[in-house]
Subunit: 158 residues, 2 copies
Amino acid sequence: MKMFFHYNWMVREEWYQWCEGISEEELLKKRTGGVGSILQTLFHIADVEWSWIRLLKGEDDFQESFDEYRSLSKVRELDAQFRTEVEEFVANWDTSMEHKRLHFTEKDGTVVTDQWGEVMRHIIAHEIHHIGQLSVWARELGKEPVSANLVGRGLADS
Amino acid sequence: MKMFFHYNWMVREEWYQWCEGISEEELLKKRTGGVGSILQTLFHIADVEWSWIRLLKGEDDFQESFDEYRSLSKVRELDAQFRTEVEEFVANWDTSMEHKRLHFTEKDGTVVTDQWGEVMRHIIAHEIHHIGQLSVWARELGKEPVSANLVGRGLADS
């Protein structure tokens, strides 16, 4: 579990660096698929990660809209602010937490139950999926995307 | 580890079903990013998964080209053929295998060492990343992509 979170944070940081070479107009441009723009995807990844961790902790999740974060520096700041709490939760994760139950009510009133282990994997897969979308948009911009390789990053030694 | 493989196989099967509603021409059409077409992406996912498992087992990997598999039914057949072996390996996975070493030589002669746990996670992330690319191409076709949600699939109970 932990290695996947470290992988995602490393890849996300590389995407932030990649974004430094792209104009703000291109970062905010509406694109086909996903949540619609490169920057909003990165915002969405950080938002969703932190919001689920907050749910697991039984605390309020993030409700603000992207409208307040329409620049690379604002998204990075928000992500850094969230990260401390997410990192702490991930660092303290152990397998005894796998089958704990999270109950919550969806917008339509349905009560949903997920196991904590599912939620953690959902967060991981959610980011990798959206990063795959960024890689297509990068090519559409004529740019090489960040590598998605998990091997070769020294993750097993960290 | 096992839950992620089950997630990927479930999502992959849903993409095969999704493909049934798309013409072969669209499935084979060259697209921007990734490995280039919807069908070649699914072929690539099955190929890469099986090839890494074969490397871990110390056996020959898959060397055939996509040219021989340019139809949905052929890709599904190949995937089913590979799956038996991959499923067996995944079913027998345990944490004692995490730090085993895989050594192999890359095309340029470099000798690379990866830990088995990294390789297994690489296979998982590899598929999710490419599925993210399919989701953009689906929207470009005006079609709703397969859901990438990991929660809500009953995976923790299986």
